[in-house]
Symmetry: C2
Amino acid sequence: MASRTRADGSPLSRERIVAAAVELLDTSGEAGLTFRALSAHLSTGPGAIYHHVASKDELLAAATGAVLSGVSDVRGEPREAVRALGLALFDAIDAHPWIGTQLAGLASQSVTLRIFEALGQRVQALGVPGPSQFDAASALFNYILGVAGQNAANARAHTRGATRAEVLGIEATHWETLDPAEYPFAVTVAAQLREHDDREQFLAGLDLVLTGITARGA
Amino acid sequence: MASRTRADGSPLSRERIVAAAVELLDTSGEAGLTFRALSAHLSTGPGAIYHHVASKDELLAAATGAVLSGVSDVRGEPREAVRALGLALFDAIDAHPWIGTQLAGLASQSVTLRIFEALGQRVQALGVPGPSQFDAASALFNYILGVAGQNAANARAHTRGATRAEVLGIEATHWETLDPAEYPFAVTVAAQLREHDDREQFLAGLDLVLTGITARGA
DNA sequence: ACCTGAACACCGTTCAAGT
DNA sequence: ACCTGAACACCGTTCAAGT
């Protein structure tokens, strides 16, 4: 019971490494994931990780995949399935902001492909004609991943401790400060920012895209 | 003519630094922008840059702003103006892929706000009722920035030298390799991937969102 | 086969010392 | 005031040496 177990008795594995990475990302953000911090957390040396994971990029992709496993398994009427998938992603990003960066940026291929596939199947089910299906699925895909990126940017921009309300409060006062001659729309919209719910707005936008997709087919 | 000029006679300035950063980003990609490489390019030391720019993040934001200055100044019929703005951004990202990462991620606030404002004004001009204007502008904004992020991800994923056709070729064969039982939609769509134009698809998606927006108002 | 941790080749940023 | 470049406090990754 010596050679195969580590100091604390638990052998290293890709699974354990990825789980620790998720925990570290959740706890200390994207900047907190370091091979040194991670290996300390696993009570080993930084080099040990490379026996199970090829690089930091791969680790980030695996962490994203671990949190998002099964997120694209949605059921029911196609429109509702698209909403469910979108909300599942939105909530996952809300809980783990670093996922937003991954989805919007590096695109951990396999996760991203599964999302695209799930969206495409619903687009087909909605009766969108063949040649337009690709465009429709892409539109949904890009909209959802755009929100993901923007949410991640917001999370990164504001202090870790601030609640959403505080964050929106900050933004509202910021927008109200703008010159109305230069930013008439932003100033007008600033008033709505207080009672504004990111999640509802995400759904509203998703419905807008769905409406556009089905309006074409009709 | 000694104390205020540098070795090669050209004094350092924020403008010159940002211009050099853009050149470096275009030439050697996001990883190529280093304070050491940048200062060497300006024939000075890394520390000198900090007299004109506060941090690397600020430098990236400034570089994005420099390339995108005036991109939101669009004219004409609102629908056409939205298309023009979208295409201007798409083409800018095509020429400078690193901009996509900036827009989708860190969101260099001022650029991003100008885009949002421009979109909001066209949404108003389209006759969308007041309470829906925010959602509509956000939908356009998130779709456009989603494409930006995805394009940047693609650019990063593929070799620098490959043409777009080659890139798509690689993706097509990759998609064709997928298990049709697990990825029926992706496999079906793989055939269309060869004659597929990212730019056209971007416009098609933008029209989808616009259709959704105006369908609501009617 | 797997682990260890020192070492390598970098980073962004700071800061004393110069002009 | 601005510049210089060595130095600080880190990175991801590699690799000889161990078990």
